[in-house]
Symmetry: C2
DNA sequence: GCGCTTCATTGACAAGTCTCAATGCGCGCG
DNA sequence: CGCGCGCATTGAGACTTGTCAATGAAGCGC
């Protein structure tokens, strides 16, 4: 077995001793991208055999805004945040990506946001050239790519809607509701979130203090519990929905 | 000549007397979609010959959130707004589309936002089934579709960033800057915007009053002029940029 | 376990935005 | 031509959120 999972986000699909990137070698390309695109096999795949599995440690940068956009990624484990930093030092998180979701798939010369690992992350990486190659004459893959982009777009539109008219409390409530929708734990109402308060605040377009206060409010109303930093329990789903919709 | 441009947004590419929609007829499909996808020919095309040209009057609904998503559109003349309405009656405008831009191209069963004509609008309409048909075996078109979606996504991300951390004045400044970037008039700094103050406010996630005050502020600083309701003149581009970036 | 560091929470006050209300302005219609 | 209507602008006060500062809680290395 020649290839192993990377320890910390270094190139795995670039051939170690040649200037030519590995994705032009058919074997890697085919295997890597098939796994990348095929949701069913991605989960149960033998990681050792896939040349594009990468690991990133907590807070590691996966790519930076402005970098040449050479790869797309699919989350296997952990969570990834896409963000932009502003001149005043504040950060806006544009989107989160959870297991099975794909990011960096848009069509632009350069990445328009920075991608970072929220906690430790395992992701599949696929060169765009490889995807483009597979796309030709394969309407299925082309379709999947469209579907992924569409999903990101509609998430972004929801996000815009939230930032545009919801109060702090409503935003926090909406955020937990959205997480509950795509919960990965098996207990209803139990959310395991790898995000810090700062991450949440930056996603919601609030300061960390305002986010905290909204959280405390919800706790006081017995709508949620926060037994530990990274765990939220929804005790009153209907109440949470009411708050998210603005029914005080 | 059997077909004419529609007066007010009714079906044009559905065969009048048959249950079968017209887009399965190759001629219409091919012609309509070629014009739809090909930017160069769209502008100079004989409208009379294209079966998918539609007109919408000011404030007319092009499609509603929740409708079955059967068509994509390309703006020829005028401006289109994509918006969502909330329980409290407030409206968030998610995006604007100007001539040559395409909307409704995402991949979802139902439209996720409502599309309306800002002023009078001329648009090309293409059934998605037709696009899908053309996409197969035509990587060029597939690529263009990806590019359009990508553009919408990056616009949405910019929008999120704006709503998440900019002040009222910064938002207004950024908005005019963005318009200047894609100006359609030939005079530098002269913006012809078909939007009402309410449209602008709903896009920026502000109330109409706050938007007005920001505008008046910019006028007082001699950064812009507003000689008439629907016209803005940028008198100090650098100053506008500085404000948009937060340098007071 | 202890101290250190980082993150989370709470409080008091300042600043920005929204709400409500009044006024101004432009435009079409009777 | 003036009237009414819709849209835009301005003002005053209430409310929400941000800022600054202090305290509390949790994780980690020694």
């Amino acid at each position: 077995m020649q290839r192993k999972v990377a320890e910390t986000g270094r190139d795995l699909d670039a051939h170690p001793s040649s200037g030519e990137p590995a994705f032009v070698r058919p074997a890697v390309c085919e295997q890597g991208c098939r796994f990348f695109m095929d949701e069913a096999s991605a989960r149960k795949s033998d990681m050792d055999k896939v040349g594009v599995t990468m690991k990133f440690v907590r807070n590691e940068t996966i790519y930076s805004k402005g970098d040449e956009a050479r790869h797309s990624y699919k989350v296997i484990e952990g969570a990834v945040r896409l963000s932009r930093i502003f001149a005043d030092g504040r950060r806006q998180i544009v989107n989160f990506y959870l297991p099975d979701e794909t990011f960096g798939i848009e069509l632009a010369e350069e990445y328009t946001s920075t991608a970072e690992a929220v906690g430790d992350v395992v992701a599949l990486r696929c060169p765009r050239a490889c995807i483009a190659q597979l796309t030709e004459g394969n309407p299925d893959i082309s379709q999947k790519r469209l579907a992924m982009l569409s999903k990101s777009l509609s998430a972004a539109e929801r996000h815009v809607a939230m930032l545009g008219h919801q109060s702090a409390k409503e935003r926090v409530a909406s955020f937990f509701l959205a997480l509950e929708m795509q919960r990965h734990t098996d207990v209803e109402g139990m959310l395991d979130l790898p995000l810090s308060r700062q991450d949440i605040a930056d996603y919601l377009g609030l300061t960390i203090e305002t986010t905290c206060r909204a959280l405390s409010d919800l706790k006081r109303q017995k709508i949620i519990d926060a037994p530990s930093r990274r765990r939220i329990v929804i005790r009153d789903l209907a109440g949470l929905q009411a708050i998210a919709e603005g029914d005080v």
